[in-house]
Amino acid sequence: MHRNLGTEFIHVMQKRTVVKILLIFTLVFNVANLFAKEPEKGDGGKVNTKSEIDAYIEHHLQDSHDFTLWSDGETGSHVGFPLPVILWDNGLKIFSSSKFHHRETVAQVGEDYYKLDHGKIYKTDAAGTINYDEHHHATNVKPLDFSITKNVVTMIIVGVLMLLMFGGLARSYKKGALPTGFGRVLEPLVIYVRDEIAIPNIGKDKYRKFMGFLLTVFFFIWILNLLGMTPLGVNVTGNIAITVCLALFTYFITQFSANKEYWKHIFWMPGVPVLMKIVLMPIEILGTLTKPFALLIRLFANITAGHVVIMSLIALIFVADNVYVMTPISLLLTIFISVIELLVAFLQAFIFTMLSALFIGLAVQDHDHH
């Protein structure tokens, strides 16, 4: 417990230090700006850099049909590997995303032509024309897209990794009570989820059934959050479709394991006047939906915000007038935010699991009548 308090304290201190350093750097940057040479006006070079950075950040936040590790802006070459594109358009169409040549060309599959536009695949003619309506939405036919995208690949990798990690941990118990190898790192984490998250929220006699889900969700989110901080450039938990799915799991598990008491409290709240019961019913039904909604928004927004902050801080180098002053500042700020993001990566996984356990606990617990 005292250790928890310690980390909390360090966390607060870190925040303060970051604020101080931010202030100092703002001052330094402003002074450095005074001495920096006036940017040449009229050529629009700076504006272009800014919009380029915006486009780059937006592109990073989105899912992609190829796994690009890095690109060379000058030669226009990309380092990475293509991924399979799977489309349902009057039959199954499978081809490699290298046919798109990084969103530049039209892919020809049999007699059909497809083109990527803002991360979405559209059916086009041979020239690749995409028609827009007045709201700048493409009006072309959109085939159903089941592609193995960058996010899907990352999730499969994490799935396999977790299978290996926890399969190994489970097997090591057959040999003895003590886990061996990497299992020694995992065992305390599993026990932490059981003792700090599952048992206090769900209850000692009912928690076992939900441990599988809670552990999976905890490690899945945590590992994906941590992968998002590596230079691989993946952003899986910062994708709203994935957080929606995770929250839906919690929602359905909560609803389907709920007992009679839970439904009674939603549809016919005991202990209040009849008029109040009728007023409370829609509110309670809405309440079951807002809980997972808050869950999905929180994870998505936190991770997206973290990625945007880190990338914006790195981008400071490119918009600065004096690169030699800005680079160390940007680097230090990025390191500080990265350390906080490491904490956030764990915290968000913890919160998601914790609140899932709490919602499940509310649905399965026996209400003792006073």
Binding site: M1, L355, L358
Partner: protein, 64 residues
């Protein structure tokens, strides 16, 4: 005159800041009074902070 969305974002952040400050402050007082219950207080604090944060994020995203 149209009020820019950033003003709304600022208001949301002010509200969330006040809320988090109150939660943190009360938790600190509670821990000072009952150091033995630190773990329980912290857990409750994090849950309430997370709920508040979810609300603030929802407002920020819906307002965008």
């Amino acid at each position: 005159m149209e009020i820019p969305a950033l003003v709304g974002a600022g208001l949301i952040v002010i509200g969330a800041g006040i809320g988090l400050g109150k939660i943190g402050g009360s938790a600190m007082e509670a821990i000072a009074r009952q150091p033995d219950a630190t773990g329980k207080i912290q857990t409750a604090m994090i849950i309430i902070a997370a709920l508040l944060e979810g609300l603030a994020f929802a407002a920020l995203i819906l307002g965008k």
